[in-house]
Symmetry: C2
Subunit: 372 residues, 2 copies
DNA sequence: GTGCGTTGTGCAATCGTTAGCATGGATTCT
DNA sequence: AGAATCCATGCTAACGATTGCACAACGCAC
């Protein structure tokens, strides 16, 4: 059964059929340089023990051969793939597209690459969760997508660090988000100081913590100021949902109609504005509208939305750093944090301003200072 | 130098410090099942030679241990990583966000995962190209981003199949795109038949083939119909660029002002419309505006854009299939194709229609048939 | 001249998986 | 009954990279 001593070594696979053929490997470089593979590895990784002339020779050879290290092989030894899973929410909201762009850039700056696991509405499939494990992702960045608790449990069981961005923390994983309550309060105060008394909120998807926090923060702030409770209009996470809510608002008799609307996301606010204007109402003349997120499209005409800008770059950077320290510290050792970052108010021309009865409509965006 | 015979086998690394600790492997399953590793591998891969009872025992054990195969290790043997690189253009254009969403979904359906290499404007960094090789990507999907010819050459040298979507083919790689010329011709005919005679084109980024083809197709079609050459306005790839062009158009004296504008991308068209309306002009009353791409935001009020919809899903699917057959056939063997798919006209309410002097503004989008 | 520290390289094991061949027992054919 | 066949499984060599340890060769001090 156990054949004694050295069996003859012959290649199990013909050299011609070998996959990835042609690419230089450490072994091929070693052979050409007449040194051992370990020497090549050390020379390319700037190990101090390699003599300068050998290193020079090897790096020149590697350059000439167009050598690229196989990260997959390295990952096996190191136990780290350098991959970070990315789970994106509904990209019909430009906020997530902007987030993605930041994520790619900042991850690359940290020496990581993103494995795009999911994008769009709907829950995450089981196959996706499996892929996350199969590719030995070092960690996973999750935006407002519906990460099932099953998926979260699987990550926890396999000690894959999880960081949510723009979403409340689960049992497992840290979270980075804008201080939604504080932000909503800033907007509530702005509207109240501008003299608005009949307020409304167009809510987001009831399932997302972000939407709930913004709604609650706004309403509590109004209540604290002694204002009348805002009317709530069911929204969603799209322009269409905002438009529908705007139509309902516009259809109200003038006496009951709110004179200021807080839409919990910019994309919603754009829909609201479009519906109001289509119904013949003036924004901000008849109704003030404010949003939250700070997407670039909403900043432009014809919206010039007053909104609370999320510190997107900082949020993503913080999220990645949390992930990386979590990876560093070994699996589940890292404490699970909830990080809140303050947004900044961007004054546009979609709402009445405290001082003037009507905002000048021609203010260039850049000239407007962002409040604290 | 060469110590004779079997050296004592001891672990090079302490078991505690072993990375990826805790996760079940084929070896650990084999030990627990009392069989060889190869048997486990075969049982899990449904090799016909494994007896039913052994397979049942092993699959049960794998299930219980929460075993997930390590694709990185598998890739080394198979020579295929199952990874497809994704290079996205400026995501400020929602078209690319929609494309990405399709790409994730369709790649997953084909058993592949996307490595997100680049997103946004600007050229691809060298480090990005390197990552593409390091992770042994099976192929790469490229959208309108600026893939340098250096990067393309590197892919060719390493026989990484390349497929461009919405962009002309390079020396190396296939390409899938909408038939931009034909699409632009459809739009030109539509405008001419509606009685427009003073036409204008808001161009895209001069560097992109897509923009050039659309501009040329439109102008040639007008010329063929004996129309006056359209005035060209430099655009770009953003709402802001469209807005700026719209302002220039609106500033013209009424006698010189075009009465119909073709913007080579929907996002541009939105900017044009916003600028024209802000200047007090009516769309489509005073000026008709049509776009091209078919992004969902442009379909909604207040734009209701008439546009040529790119068959996004088909384009991405075709691109992936081209990539996969290229991978199948072994590196550079696959012929390099250029695939053109026809778009479909979507009639909105942003332009005058051939029959009626003015389009009814309240047509529900769904009720409008898409022309051939 | 022996002993010792330094320095640069090589050897071999290892990560987790797959696949070619060997093997041993059961079955079937002549 | 002996031989040929077949089936299920085990052994082992890869894939490409990293790394602990062994070990030559060299210089230096005593």
């Amino acid at each position: 059964m156990d054949q004694a001593a050295a069996p003859p070594r012959r290649p199990a696979r013909s050299a011609a059929a070998r996959p990835g053929s042609g690419r230089a490997t450490i072994a091929s470089l070693a052979q050409r340089a007449g040194v051992a593979a370990s020497t090549v590895s050390r020379a390319l990784r700037d190990d101090a023990r390699i003599s300068p002339e050998v290193r020079a020779r090897i790096t020149a050879l590697a350059q000439e051969a167009g050598y690229t290290p196989n990260i997959l092989a390295r990952s096996m030894v190191l136990g780290r793939s350098g991959l970070i899973g990315l789970v994106l929410g509904p990209v019909e909201n430009p906020f997530y597209a902007e987030l993605m762009q930041q994520a790619v850039r900042l991850a690359a700056a940290r020496g990581c690459r993103l494995l795009l696991l999911h994008a769009g509405p709907g829950p995450i499939e089981d196959a996706t969760t499996e892929a996350l494990l199969q590719y030995r992702v070092d960690g996973c960045l999750v935006t407002s997508a519906e990460l099932s608790s099953k998926a979260a449990a699987i990550c926890a069981a396999n000690s894959v660090p999880l960081v949510m961005i723009n979403r409340v923390a689960r049992e497992h994983g840290s979270a980075v988000s804008c201080d939604n309550r504080a932000g909503a309060e800033v907007l509530a105060e702005l509207l109240l100081q501008a003299g608005h008394r009949r307020l409304a909120v167009v809510t987001g998807n009831a399932a997302t913590s972000t939407g709930r926090e913004r709604t609650e923060g706004f309403c509590q702030s109004v209540a604290a100021a002694g204002g009348e409770a805002p009317a709530l209009f069911t929204g969603g996470a799209s322009h269409a949902a905002g438009f529908a809510a705007g139509q309902r608002i516009a259809a109200l008799p003038a006496a009951e109609r709110p004179d200021a609307v807080f839409a919990v996301a910019d994309i919603l606010a754009m829909g609201v504005i479009d519906a109001l204007r289509e119904a013949g109402l003036k924004v901000p003349g008849d109704v003030s509208v404010v949003g939250m997120d700070g997407i670039s499209l909403a900043q432009r005409p014809p919206y010039r939305l007053t909104t609370l800008v999320q510190p997107l770059e900082a949020m993503v950077a913080r999220g990645l750093d949390l992930l990386l320290t979590g990876i560093e510290h070994g699996a589940g050792a890292a404490p699970q944090e909830r990080v809140l970052l303050r947004g900044t108010l961007r004054l546009g021309a979609s709402c009445r301003l405290p001082g003037s009865p009507l905002p000048p409509s021609g203010i260039p965006d850049a000239a407007l200072p962002a409040a604290e």
